[in-house]
C-alpha cells in the first residue's frame, strides 16, 4: 500500500482541525470505513448543484453522485495521491453523468421532462424561470454545458477549471465561447 500524506499514526494525538482529503482517505484505507462519510458530505456539497444542473434533475444527479462515490470508494486503492482528489472524483462523476445521459437520451435533446410523449396536459406544465434556464442549458452539448456551469454558476476561473478537468485553456475558452454562441442563438428570437 502506498504511503499517503497525512496518514495518522497511533502515537500522534488526533488533530482538531478539518482533515484533508488525503488524511481521510488514509484512514479509510486503514480500515475506518465510516470516515468515508466525510468525503461524501464534502463532495456532495461541492458538486450537487453542478450535477443537478448538468443533468437537469436532482434525482438523476443524486444517482450519478451515489454511483460516483461508490466507484471512488472501490478505486481508492488505485488513487495514488498523484493528483488532487477533487480532480479524480470529478472525472468519475462527469463520466457517470455522461453514461446516465446516454441511457436516457432521446433524439438530440438531452433534458428529460419536456418530451413526455404528450401524456402531460398543457395545464400540468408550469415552467418557472428556473425550468426555462435548465431547458436552455440542456440544449448545449454536455461538454459545453459542463464548462459553462463550472465557470458561470460555480464561479470557477479558467485556471481552476483546467486543474479540475484536465482540459487545456484553449479548449475551455472554445467551449465557453461556443456555449455562449449557442445560448444567444436560442434566445435570438428576441434581438435587441
Amino acid at each position: 500500500m502506498s504511503a499517503l500524506r497525512g496518514f495518522s499514526r497511533r502515537d500522534v494525538a488526533p488533530r482538531p482541525v478539518t482533515p484533508t482529503d488525503g488524511e481521510v482517505i488514509g484512514r479509510v484505507l486503514a480500515g475506518d470505513v465510516a470516515a468515508y462519510a466525510i468525503i461524501v458530505d464534502r463532495y456532495h456539497a461541492r458538486f450537487a448543484r453542478f450535477a443537478t444542473r448538468l443533468l437537469g434533475s436532482q434525482e438523476d444527479a443524486e444517482e450519478a453522485l451515489q454511483d460516483a462515490f461508490l466507484r471512488a470508494y472501490r478505486g481508492l486503492g488505485r488513487y495514488q495521491d498523484r493528483e488532487r482528489f477533487a480532480s479524480w472524483f470529478y472525472r468519475i462523476l462527469v463520466n457517470r453523468c455522461r453514461s446516465m445521459q446516454a441511457r436516457f437520451a432521446r433524439g438530440s435533446r438531452s433534458v428529460p421532462d419536456f418530451e413526455s410523449e404528450g401524456r402531460v396536459a398543457a395545464d400540468d406544465i408550469r415552467l418557472a424561470g428556473r425550468e426555462e434556464a435548465i431547458w436552455l442549458i440542456g440544449q448545449l452539448p454536455l461538454e459545453q454545458r459542463e464548462v459553462f456551469l463550472l465557470h458561470f454558476v460555480e464561479d470557477m476561473s479558467y485556471e481552476d477549471i483546467a486543474g479540475l478537468t484536465g482540459l487545456g485553456m484553449s479548449a475551455i475558452k472554445m467551449r465557453v465561447s461556443r456555449g455562449l454562441d449557442r445560448l444567444r442563438e436560442l434566445l435570438g428570437g428576441e434581438r435587441q
Binding site: G107, S108, P141, E143, M174, R178
Partner: protein, 192 residues
C-alpha cells in the same frame, strides 16, 4: 361580402375547387393561375400532387409571389418524376418523396439506385431521408452516400439509420468535422 365570395367559389366551375380542395380559399388568384397547369400535368403523369399542393401552401404562407411558387412546384414535380423513374413502379409514396428530397440535396440518380438496391425489398424512404439529413448537417454528398450504403450493406435497420443521423448531428454540434463524424459513427455502429 365574404359569404358571396364563398358561394361564388362553390358555384363557379373553377379548376381548383374540383381537383385541389385543399387550396381553395387559401390561395390568391394569381398564384392559382400559375400553379393549376402544373398540378394538372403532374396529376396526369400520376405524381403525388398532395406534396405539390403542400409546397404551394408553404409558399403562400411564406409570402412568396406566383413566379417563385410556380418555380418551386416545377422543381419538386421534376424531382418527384425523376425519383419515380429511378425507383421503379413498386416504390411507396414516402420513398418517392424521400428520393426527390435526396436528389434535391445533391445525390445523383446513381446514388439513389444504389441505395434503393442495397435496401432490397424493404422501404428505402428512411435511408434517403437520413442521407439527406446528413448532407444538411454539412456532410459532403459522396461521404453521406458511402456511409449510408455501408450501413445498409451491414444490414442496418431504419432505427439504426436514425441513430446514426442523430449521433452525427450531435457530433457536428460539438464541433467535430462532419465527414469525420459520419465516417466514425458509421464505423462504430455498423461493424461488418
Amino acid at each position: 361580402m365574404k359569404q358571396l365570395l364563398v358561394v361564388a367559389l362553390l358555384l363557379a366551375p373553377t379548376p381548383l375547387a374540383g381537383q385541389s380542395p385543399r387550396l381553395t380559399g387559401r390561395v390568391p388568384q394569381p398564384i392559382v393561375s400559375a400553379v393549376v397547369p402544373l398540378l394538372d400535368s403532374a396529376r396526369a403523369a400520376g405524381l403525388p400532387t398532395d406534396l405539390l399542393e403542400a409546397k404551394v401552401l408553404e409558399g403562400v404562407t411564406k409570402g412568396a409571389n406566383a413566379d417563385v411558387i410556380a418555380n418551386a412546384v416545377r422543381r419538386l414535380a421534376s424531382d418527384l418524376g425523376a425519383a419515380r423513374r429511378l425507383l421503379g413502379g413498386g416504390a411507396s409514396a414516402r420513398e418517392i418523396a424521400a428520393g426527390a428530397g435526396a436528389l434535391r440535396a445533391g445525390f445523383s440518380g446513381a446514388d439513389l439506385e444504389r441505395i434503393h438496391a442495397a435496401r432490397g425489398a424493404r422501404d428505402a424512404a428512411v435511408a434517403f431521408e437520413v442521407a439527406t439529413d446528413l448532407v444538411a448537417s454539412t456532410v459532403p454528398v459522396d461521404t453521406a452516400a458511402r456511409v449510408v450504403l455501408r450501413a445498409l450493406t451491414s444490414g442496418a435497420s431504419d432505427e439504426q439509420l436514425a441513430q446514426l443521423r442523430m449521433a452525427v448531428e450531435r457530433d457536428v454540434a460539438n464541433g467535430v468535422p462532419a465527414p469525420v463524424a459520419a465516417s466514425l459513427r458509421a464505423t462504430l455502429l455498423f461493424k461488418n
